[in-house]
């Protein structure tokens, strides 16, 4: 997996976050999905499903519980793609 792929995953997450970020807060890898961006716990799972469909992966619920920041989500998606 190249650095470009990592960047693409980040861009995809930012794109999927748009409907949950009405205040258009700046998104960085350090942004807390719930704490900084204010995405509620139900919406986080909707975001995850969008990623699962785009990359044809399954992100188990317990893995989601451990993901706090956008950067951690990028890493989790990257890891699951590489395991395929």
């Amino acid at each position: 997996m190249s650095a470009t792929d990592h960047e693409q995953i980040f861009d995809k997450i930012c794109e999927l976050l748009v409907p949950y970020n009405p205040k258009k807060l700046a998104i960085t890898r350090q942004s807390g999905i719930v704490t900084d961006l204010g995405v509620d716990s139900t919406a986080v799972f909707d975001l995850i499903m969008g990623l699962e469909d785009h990359y044809d992966i399954s992100i188990p619920m317990e893995m989601v519980s451990d993901i706090k920041t956008v950067g951690e989500l990028v890493n989790a998606v990257k890891q699951l793609i590489s395991e395929q």
Binding site: D40, S41, T42, A43, F45, D46, I48, M49, E52, D56, I57, S58, P60, M61, E62, M63, S65
Partner: protein, 409 residues
């Protein structure tokens, strides 16, 4: 650092809601007179947010059975069935539930929440996978959290999406897939397409578990729920439910067509390590089960009242979240407007539920109404007249909302 600091964001959100009037999450009734009437101060309230679907909490036979059980066997069980033994009432109700639904095994629990918590956490082991509907109730999610099995969510009410995710998972080595859905979803009141889910489960060899908490007693020719109504009860592996809705009590049950389910009595922690339901709770549910079998007219009246209210609210221009069912959810633009209207309804004698994120699908804010077979046509006319008056007073309500929001800034 204070131990409660972490609740500050929640506290400030609640404080805004409290400024609109009564705390919607801490309503105190001064009296509950019957299945459809309560009292706060001097004001009589029409209860339209109780989940008392068959209106049996004041049924004379249910009350008599409960009183008789207390007189015969006391007020409490003082322990778990594993450590302290089963009462006649527990065994009798389990047999009656199994017979009524034609299932091989029935286990009763102390609450509905504990039922799903215990059963799901135990049925799915470390080599298994759980697939749950995206709108699953908190007790299903918590059951999954306690299970060692990975949990994967599929899109709400979409057998196609479940099929896709089961296919993506492929063959599960030395394990099984447990699919968990609900019959009637508690917030929007929408129904699961159970036959289609059964098809997908059979295609993949997955076990199907349905929580019929809001549909048992309400649907099906003999009140067994939506699986029975859709003609697929015999294709469902597990049915769970609660006593606190149609069954006029408190407690829960899980049924299985597999006799092997019995072994889990000595494995389910939320069954083994908690006190069993009291004789009076169980006896009331047992009497209510007889009513479900003997009185289909309760279901008929409930369905008619749901049609009446749904049509009336739609005619008033309210956006409703699903087809008519005993749960009718009115979608509101945001939680402040919803909370303001909820207060207005209570001040005008109608109690409904305020449902807000994250407890709702699609982050929606709802005025959730749950109907009862004990509601009359006139009760529904009254509820509709209060909603009509509320919509005619929207200027007054909006002014109140603006005032509160200005004060909060």
């Amino acid at each position: 650092m204070d131990i409660f600091d972490k609740f500050d964001p929640m506290k400030s959100r609640l404080e805004t809601v409290h400024k609109l009037g009564v705390d919607p999450f801490g309503v105190k009734f001064d009296d509950i007179m019957n299945a459809t009437r309560g009292r706060i101060g001097n004001r009589e309230i029409v209860l339209a947010g109780t989940n008392n679907y068959l209106g049996l909490t004041f049924d004379p036979d249910c009350m008599d059975a409960s009183i008789k059980a207390i007189k015969n066997h006391g007020t409490g069980t003082t322990g778990s069935r594993i450590a302290n033994g089963s009462y006649e009432e527990h065994v009798d109700l389990e047999n009656a539930l199994a017979n009524h639904t034609n299932m091989a095994s029935a286990i009763v629990f102390s609450t509905g929440y504990q039922t799903n918590l215990a059963a799901i956490a135990t049925l799915a082991g470390p080599k298994d996978f759980i697939f749950i509907d995206a709108d699953a109730h908190a007790c299903i999610i918590d059951g999954c959290r306690l299970s060692p099995a990975p949990t994967i969510r599929f899109r709400h009410n979409s057998p196609e999406d479940l099929d896709k995710r089961l296919t993506r998972q492929g063959k599960i080595e030395d394990g099984i897939a447990l699919v968990v859905i609900e019959g009637l979803y508690s917030m929007f009141g929408d129904r699961a397409p159970i036959a289609e889910f059964a098809d997908v489960c059979e295609k993949h060899g997955a076990y199907l578990y349905i929580d019929e908490a809001h549909s048992f007693g309400v649907f099906g020719p003999t009140g067994c729920g939506l699986a029975e109504e859709q003609g697929v009860l015999d294709r469902v592996d597990f049915i769970s439910g609660t006593f606190s809705k149609s069954l006029a009590s408190i407690g829960g049950f899980c049924l299985s067509k597999h006799i092997g389910f019995e072994i889990t009595r000595t494995a389910m922690r939320a069954y083994m390590f908690t006190a069993s339901p009291t004789p009076s709770n169980v006896a009331a549910a047992r009497a209510a089960l007889d009513k479900i079998a003997e009185k289909p007219e309760l279901r008929t009246n409930l369905a008619e009242r749901a049609e009446q209210l749904h049509a009336g609210l739609a005619a008033l221009g309210y956006e409703l979240c699903a087809d008519p069912s005993p749960v009718i959810a009115v979608r509101r633009p945001n939680e402040i407007i919803a909370a303001s209207e909820w207060n207005w309804l209570l001040e005008n004698g109608v109690y409904v539920n305020l449902a807000v994120p994250p407890g709702t699908p699609q982050s929606s804010s709802l005025l959730r109404i749950s109907l009862s077979a004990a509601h009359t046509k006139e009760d529904i006319d009254h509820i509709l007249s209060v909603f009509k008056e509320m919509s005619e007073n929207s200027d007054e309500l909006n002014a109140r909302v603006a005032e509160v929001l200005a004060a909060a800034e």
